[in-house]
């Protein structure tokens, strides 16, 4: 009888394709909006997640997230180093400055000053050059998007120069740093060099990056740092979440995307649900005839579920295909770099589609189950 169910489904091509396209459209809209939302909302923590050597970030107690920082005093570094359970601790500067290109174009840049001795915090994904080139005088590593902004149309190469605070910045490497929220270029330099690039600031120490000693839990070390120094200590994961939550609570981004996601959910639920329901109701007489002939309710439920699974599966597959093509296309586009289509989103939408078609089927099935087969005798 599965054959009969499928033939009934595809017989009305207009309805069949409208069902599939409605689910595909809703799936695509959900995938697109949720993935972009996740991509954008994880950008504020890009520079945190790019630091892979250290596990703990120590900061001023009032620091809420990584983009607004009140500098620590230099001796705070030594206080953190003295906390039991801290394997090592290094300084990190994170701030903004203005860089000017050779042709006069300028932009605000995110400047990361990494520890001179260990280069902890330096970018790990290098497209040109090496992080050890930071040893050179005035050296800095710029991210690909920044390079393309300052040197449009030129091949990625080291040796170009910028100007910051009336000082030469020698580009010694190009990194594949994660895109920041503000879409500013990201420059990495040595901690000692950063002071020259940003101008006179009494304190430069934005963060202390620390590593817990072997066998000491990160949470425990954070607690000890906070108790000993009075500073705030967060693990990389916690600090990334702080950044996410700050933007989540203080911007209209979640509302904006939320509305689109809700609309996609409504469209994805109501249109396919209603169309599938109407489809079943229009076939009610035929289901009645099948019941009269001797097809069991169980078999009819199976037929309807099969129909729902086929349209749901086809629509979902089409929607995911379009989404995958979209994100494959935009992956290397600078403004949307780093915004990917997480498999968790794909899985989640699959569950949503399953729920939608399941709900639509249940309503339809109910109509068929309560249907008196005697209805077939009513002209």
């Amino acid at each position: 009888m599965n054959f009969v169910a499928l033939r009934m489904l595809v017989a009305d091509r207009a309805k069949y394709f409208s069902l599939i396209f409605a689910i595909a459209f809703a799936s695509f809209l959900l995938a697109n909006q949720i993935s972009i939302f996740i991509g954008i909302m994880t950008r504020p923590s890009s520079q945190i997640r790019d630091v892979v050597d250290a596990d703990i970030w120590v900061m001023d107690p009032q620091t809420l997230y990584s983009d607004e920082v009140y500098a620590l005093r230099d001796y705070d570094l030594y206080r953190v180093r003295s906390v039991p359970g801290v394997e090592w601790a290094v300084p990190l500067y994170k701030g903004t400055g203005r860089a000017k290109g050779e042709d006069g174009r300028f932009r605000t840049v995110i400047l990361m000053g990494v520890d001179d001795a260990t280069l902890v915090g330096a970018p790990r994904k290098m497209l040109v050059g090496s992080i050890y080139d930071l040893d050179q005088p005035d050296a800095a590593i710029i991210d690909k998007a920044g390079f393309l902004y300052f040197f449009p149309g030129e091949p990625l190469q080291a040796g170009k120069t910028l100007q910051m605070n009336e000082r030469r910045v020698l580009i010694v490497g190009i990194s594949d740093a994660s895109a920041p929220f503000q879409s500013f270029p990201v420059l990495h330099t040595r901690y000692s060099q950063a002071l020259g690039f940003v101008g006179r600031e009494r304190n430069l120490l934005s963060f202390v990056l620390a590593k817990p000693a072997a066998g000491v839990p990160m949470g425990k070390v954070c607690e000890r740092i906070e108790a000993t120094t009075g500073l705030r200590a967060r693990t990389t994961a916690q600090f990334s979440l702080d950044a996410f939550l700050f933007y989540f609570r203080n911007t209209g981004i979640p509302v904006n995307f939320g509305i689109t996601v809700v609309i996609a959910l409504i469209v994805g639920t109501v249109i396919p649900g209603q169309t599938f329901y109407i489809f079943t109701v229009e076939n009610l007489k035929q289901f009645g005839a099948l019941k009269a002939i001797g097809v069991t309710n169980r078999r009819i439920v199976g037929m309807i579920l099969l129909q729902a699974l086929v349209v749901g599966g086809s629509g979902y597959a089409l929607g995911m295909g379009i989404s995958a093509a979209f994100f494959a296309r935009t992956l290397n586009y600078m403004p949307t770099r780093g915004i990917i289509f997480p498999w968790q989103v794909m899985l989640g939408i699959g569950v949503v589609v399953l729920l939608v078609v399941g709900l639509a089927s249940l309503i339809s099935i109910r109509r068929v189950l309560v249907l008196e087969p005697a209805v077939v005798f009513r002209g």
Binding site: V4, R7, K285, A289, L290, A292, I293, G294, F377, G379
Partner: protein
């Protein structure tokens, strides 16, 4: 008459819809015997209870009271699953609006009862094609219902009702959606192929043009059998084919006149 020759035995069967003040007595004590090898017609005006009686006989509705034996079984003593199985194995249905599945070809529609019984599709469709051939429809086996005329659709419906060799064939207004000539042709085919010594045929109709195909006619009104004509084919009321075509089409008038008569 021996009871083994009786396909359907109804004793004082009633059917009441609704409760309290909203009660509707659709059947008021039906006594009827339907024999194997005969074509029985239930006739009467709209609302007389003939379709309800057909639904009760086929187990699609439960009787409110009375005793009903169908092919030696009592539908009221069968579970829903047993009833479905009973219908699938023993009953063939012909509906007023044919109720063919528009997405399936004629042969596939005929194959549906067999597929419902678990026969593999290819085997069932092949049997459906073969059976259509016996009804002169082999050349239309691969046509969709929308490509068939009303008469052809009813022939397909007839094939679907007979393909699994049921012991009881029930037809609900099989000619009312057809013109007089086509309706007559369908009835000729039905009486030629469906009526067999081991099978009973029940037709609900108010189409007076086809009454002469009946062995027995139960005239119904207001939930009761008001008159019963037996051995009709051999009786004086037999009409020729020419009379069917001349008779007024599909009105209750003919039936009422006969009841009155």
């Amino acid at each position: 008459m021996a009871t083994d020759a009786i396909a359907v035995l109804s004793r004082n069967v009633t059917k009441v819809f609704g409760r309290g003040d909203n009660q509707v007595h659709a059947l008021r004590g039906i006594d009827l015997e339907i024999r194997f090898g005969e074509l029985t017609m239930l006739v009467g005006p709209s609302g007389s209870g003939k379709t309800t009686l057909l639904s009760v006989i086929t187990g699609l509705l439960d009787a409110s009271s009375g005793e009903l034996v169908v092919l030696g079984r009592r539908p009221d003593r069968l579970s829903q699953e047993e009833l479905i199985l009973f219908r699938r194995e023993n009953l063939g249905f012909v509906f007023q609006q044919f109720n063919l599945i528009p997405a399936l070809t004629a042969a596939e529609n005929v194959a549906v009862p067999m597929m419902a019984a678990g026969v593999k599709r290819q085997q069932a469709v092949a049997r459906g094609e073969e059976f259509l051939g016996t009804l002169g429809m082999a050349h239309r086996a691969h046509a969709l219902p929308s490509e068939l005329s009303g008469g052809e659709q009813q022939r397909v419906a007839l094939a679907r009702a007979l393909v699994h060799q049921p012991k009881l064939v029930v037809c609900d207004e099989p000619t009312s959606a057809l013109d007089g000539r086509t309706g007559h042709a369908v009835m000729e085919l039905l009486s030629a192929t469906a009526v067999r010594p081991d099978r009973a045929v029940i037709i609900v109709t108010h189409d007076s043009r086809i009454f002469d195909f009946a062995d027995q006619i139960a005239h119904m009104d207001d939930g009761r059998i008001t008159a019963l004509e037996e051995n009709r084919k051999n009786g004086p009321l037999t009409k020729s084919a020419a009379v069917y075509e001349a008779a007024p089409a599909q009105t209750d008038l003919g039936a009422s006149q006969m009841i009155g008569g």
